[in-house]
Subunit: 233 residues, 2 copies
DNA sequence: AAATCCACTCGCACACTGTACGAGGACTGT
DNA sequence: ACAGTCCTCGTACAGTGTGCGAGTGGATTT
């Protein structure tokens, strides 16, 4: 027996927008605003309805449920990602620009941290980016499954690096915590590990934003070098 | 003016367990069971209370709130991670074993996907692992901030690679979806991208579990090679 | 022995969530 | 005028985390 068909917004026909006022696009746009302003918990159907001067349940005409709405908003952000044509700029440059672009978009929409890697990325924008990434690593010289492995490694690095950065921003920058007080407390937690203590002490003299950016470049260079090395042998 | 002090379970004194019956440890253990069995949404204070034959709000004597409970459960899983002494086995071997161990633990506790990179990892177990990782990359030859960059790159890769794997398992393995039906639908979503279609077609002939493992090793090798390359120049 | 204290339990209540349902309104084509 | 379709939304339900305050039982102090 076959199981239930996998269901995603992208696998169904959208409702044709007959009414000029309300539309799926407008709802998604409003949802994005709410998400950017108040984060993932700030988006509730009631609030979204109010923002659109509509009843909460009216939205269910355009969107099957909240998850579907998130899928739509999710794909929308993929649209903002720049993926240069690798044929023009070379694969390393293309990969590098892509990586930085993904990071920037993630930092601009911190709520993505809760969706990335959880939702299937089947929307047209995500597909476009994924396709371009494949082209990039094909041009680099990968073939067969190794194209996938390379893309997976590359994106894994970007996600894994940016995710904690978002979390950090959420508690420290937007949050209401005092940096000095926090460091003092973290040092208490690390009391048993002299090396970690020394490490934390170093933090005092550096701008964490800059550090993050430098770390990202360092890691990106490493990952691309490591991938390139798979090609020569 | 100073902001609010950052608050985490680890930065407070735990309540001494005077009562023999209920204790913080027992609550965390029960929470872990619930999380493993029913996932992150399966854990509610009421359900957890019922499991322990207690009222939901009784737990608040031992734990300040749900987030704190999650912090405790979170750290518990770090305890299961194997980090070999790099002095004994060499840094590459130590890193490799660590990476695989983290992946295994994550796959065994899929709910971690919702916490990793979101919660600060300040618990004793997480600290132990972090410290060992630093030793590993110090032994490799990194110094100063580069130790951090290397560790961050390394862990970013592991998280970023395993996170989507967990999501995939959740929908396909534990989920109720039919693989063939899903592939057919995904192909529809990728209709505009001939290269992606070709790629999806390849999937038919491979065991995805094996593919994931191979991909992980491929990427790990790349990352470690890339990091090693930072040392020689 | 009596009184006080404190560790602990928990029922109730509040504000909030997603969304199923079904009654209605508005507009179209016949 | 009637039928049908598109669209709105009030109400309701089952759930969530958790603040509050009353209550209980055992140990400590007077």
């Amino acid at each position: 027996m076959t199981g239930k068909a996998y269901s995603s917004v992208w696998l169904r026909e959208p409702r044709k927008a007959t009414s000029p006022g309300r539309s799926r696009e407008e709802i998604v746009r409003a949802a994005l605003e709410l998400l950017d302003e108040e984060g993932i918990d700030g988006l509730s159907m009631r609030k979204l309805g109010a923002k659109l001067s509509a009843g909460a349940t009216s939205l269910y005409w355009y969107v099957a449920n909240k998850d579907e709405l998130l899928e739509l908003a999710y794909d929308e952000t993929w649209g903002a990602i720049t993926v240069p044509d690798p044929e023009e700029v070379g694969w390393r440059e293309a990969a590098s620009v892509t990586a930085h672009s993904v990071r920037q978009v993630m930092l601009r929409h911190p709520w993505l941290a809760h969706l990335l890697g959880r939702l299937p990325a089947l929307g047209p924008n995500a597909m476009r980016v994924a396709d371009r990434m494949r082209q990039t690593f094909k041009l680099a010289g990968f073939t067969g499954y190794e194209v996938d492995y390379a893309v997976a490694t590359f994106t894994a690095y970007i996600y894994g690096m940016t995710l904690p950065e978002i979390a950090w921003n959420a508690t420290m920058v937007d949050g209401e915590y005092d940096a000095d007080a926090m460091r003092a407390q973290v040092m208490k937690a690390a009391a048993d590990f002299p090396d970690m203590l020394e490490r934390i002490d170093m933090d005092t003299y550096e701008d964490p934003r800059v550090m993050r950016a430098v770390a990202f470049d360092f890691g990106l260079l490493s990952v691309l070098d490591g991938l390139e090395r798979r090609l020569v042998t």
